[in-house]
Symmetry: C2
Subunit: 430 residues, 2 copies
């Protein structure tokens, strides 16, 4: 039997692109057995051809998109350039021409993914993006297929490796944020401009994609509340341990009766929660469904070969689909329109660390103000004293965000309060 | 547009069957959006119809297989009876008639799965069995699809919830095995005859299936070495902690240069290994691939709804496949024939606890005998002394099984050795 060749065009040859290139090379002998066809990287779109001359045969290198979009022999386009444009235009044009697309582009999928999925559907094409969330960890396909019998009500994830690395350093070596960030930068975990990572934007994009799939509703990055880790101190981590917790940057998506909550923020989670043991640059996504109960998916959230692994998995799936003429089999699964709640209407439990005047009755007054604002106190630790100043740590019960904000507003203007040092949300074991 | 109805026959209405029935009921409104068709449980095969009269409408209940196999309107057969026969015959007949099959039957899939996958392939049918390994945890589809670009070299799993529950009780409450087993029995985690769980047979069946998929080679239950947890004592758990480890019943499948290793045995693993935090009746499967690096899948390995979740995921996939006429798209992926190694040719590190005569020179003699048998000692703890008896704990470096057996043989016949109390394999962090 003649084995068909499926031709792939790779857009971009950076960290992820070179991972894909390497894996396809390693798997050359096995791919026909896995897919029923040969898979060949036929074109590689780069800006500077000379830079890649030693890795990619010259005839495959191009710096013109036209060479790819006008080549009818190209079956699959793999977009690993990143950014919104020209990625959006290239993917749209490829799908319109009946080419199948694999992308690792979370920025794009979190903002205009739904548009592209519609184009894919209109042309019976596959548009797969397993690599866009949590790198090498299988999560999109498990949610769309294996867990499809569930009503998923919660997704919580450590979905940014850079911040998890920084928090791990701070936890295990008692470092402050800036020092840990410097190490992450030196090791290449953090980019020159680390804003997207440390402010939670990167995690927010991935969370938008996860929430869309979990709740069958279009959630975009604009819907996600984000708060980064730059204000976390080693002191807070010590208190977290005292409270039996670790501090992690979590993406949290919840399906509540009145809508969807999507938020990224530093979070105290109990030490025995499976997410608490996710260290260094590892990622993990924790899911609760009405049938499966709790499940967690753990692994490498970034890197050349791990992200390449997810992309090649998608390529293999497309190759199988084309063999069986069933491309477009599972497209957009957003068949609902559940509203996304405003952050102020969501609930959380809170840890507050503050400095106050060390005087009889201060704590009673403080508790009173919390009470007047419907904030109930679950734990109170009074710790260091320095002169007339006492440090107090309070953990609240679940409270509505705007109620809590009002309480903090009132408290911070009181003369007995010298400083509100930290405010961190807390997730309790169910 | 008219929505097609796909009819399902459910073989068995025990724990898992009733979970499937419940989930299909809960998902009734959503299934058309997910699959493009209606899914309806049309027949339920049970021994005693009267027993289920309050749950299942009478006209759906039958105790005759003929009512199902001869009904051409049945599209999907879900086998949740368990056991080899008549399950094998029913599944084979169903596939031969062009009906698609979902099964949770690990006993069957681990011994005769490959035969059935061939029948499925010959009739372009889907035969899916996500529920057969690790219950609700998505693992088979992630391996066959998401991780298909990897050369997987290792799979390690906590894939029996009963034994993990028992070991957790022993660890956290200092219980001995028998007491913990009694609690597991009282809580319904352990069956009246717990042999298959505690001797590692159940885990061995799941491991055979995992190894077949990971290494693209037919591995059956007969190939798997199994050793249970009944000899583990709370004392060993205390020593494990001293060595920075937890004791878990692991299924371990490795791809080595000279073949495949498949073994189930109690194992000491470092406390900071992700598998070490898997507690109670939870399951987890840890995978190493050349591209993805390390990944782990965690969740409920058993239970009515979690196992039902995996089955309904498979049913939904079949419904989608039938809509796109691409059933049989991913069948058996065993395109290699890698030999399975004999246990005696595999390697491991060992923990040995023994009692010996407390006399000068004893340890030197002992170390000498190990050395003569090419067993190198990595750690030695001399602990309790009672009269002229000392307890000694030794951890070895990696050693070939038959070399180690020879060393133990020699040592146990030496007069200075009063008792070899425990022998447990150890997995070190890479």
């Amino acid at each position: 039997m003649e084995v068909k060749v499926k031709k792939i065009a790779l857009l971009g040859m950076g960290t992820v692109g070179s991972g894909v290139y390497e894996i396809i090379k390693r798997q050359k002998q096995e791919l026909p057995a896995k897919t029923g066809c040969m898979l060949e990287i036929d074109k590689v779109l780069v800006r500077n051809k000379a830079k890649y001359a030693s890795v990619v045969p010259e005839e495959k290198l191009t710096n013109h998109w036209e060479d790819i979009i006008n080549d009818d022999s190209i079956d699959i386009v793999v977009e690993v350039m990143g950014g919104i444009e020209p990625a959006f235009t290239y993917i749209k044009e490829a799908l319109t021409k009946g080419k199948h697309v694999v992308t690792a582009n979370k920025d794009l999928m979190a903002t205009r993914g739904h548009e592209l999925l519609e184009v894919a559907s209109a042309h019976d094409c596959d548009l797969l993006f397993e690599a866009a969330v949590a790198g090498g960890i299988p999560i999109i396909r498990p949610m769309k297929q294996c867990l499809a019998g569930n009503n998923i009500t919660e997704v919580m994830g450590i979905i940014n490796g850079t911040t998890n690395f920084i928090l791990t350093k701070m936890t295990e070596e008692g470092m402050e944020f800036k020092e840990a960030l410097q190490i992450a930068t030196d090791l290449g975990y953090a980019e020159a401009d680390p804003t997207a990572d440390i402010e939670g934007y990167d995690a927010g994009r991935k969370l938008a994609i996860l929430a869309s799939i979990a709740f069958h509703t279009q959630v975009t990055f604009d819907d996600v509340y984000t708060e980064g880790i730059s204000k976390i101190t080693s002191k807070d981590i010590v208190y977290a341990h005292e409270l039996g917790c670790e501090i992690k940057l979590l993406g949290i998506a919840k399906l509540e009766e009145d809508g969807i909550e999507v938020k990224v923020h530093p979070t105290m989670i109990p030490k025995d929660h499976p997410l608490a043991m996710v260290k260094d640059s590892f990622n993990a996504v924790y899911i609760h469904g009405d049938a499966v109960d709790d499940a967690m998916f753990y692994g490498r959230g970034a890197g050349s070969l791990p992200t390449g692994s997810a992309i090649v998995g998608d390529i293999i799936d497309i190759a199988r689909d084309t063999q069986f003429r069933c491309t477009g089999r599972i497209g957009c699964t957003c068949y609902k329109q559940i509203p996304v709640k405003h952050m102020q209407d969501t609930h959380s439990s809170y840890y507050i660390r503050m400095k106050l005047v060390d005087r009889a009755g201060t704590l009673a007054t403080l508790a009173g103000v919390f009470g007047e604002n419907q904030v109930s106190i679950s734990k109170l630790l009074q710790t260091d004293k320095e002169g007339d100043t006492a440090e107090v740590v309070i953990v609240t019960y679940d409270v509505k965000e705007n109620q809590f904000a009002k309480a903090i507003d009132t408290i911070s203007s009181m003369p007995m309060i010298k400083e509100i040092s930290s405010v961190i949300r807390v997730v309790h074991e169910e």
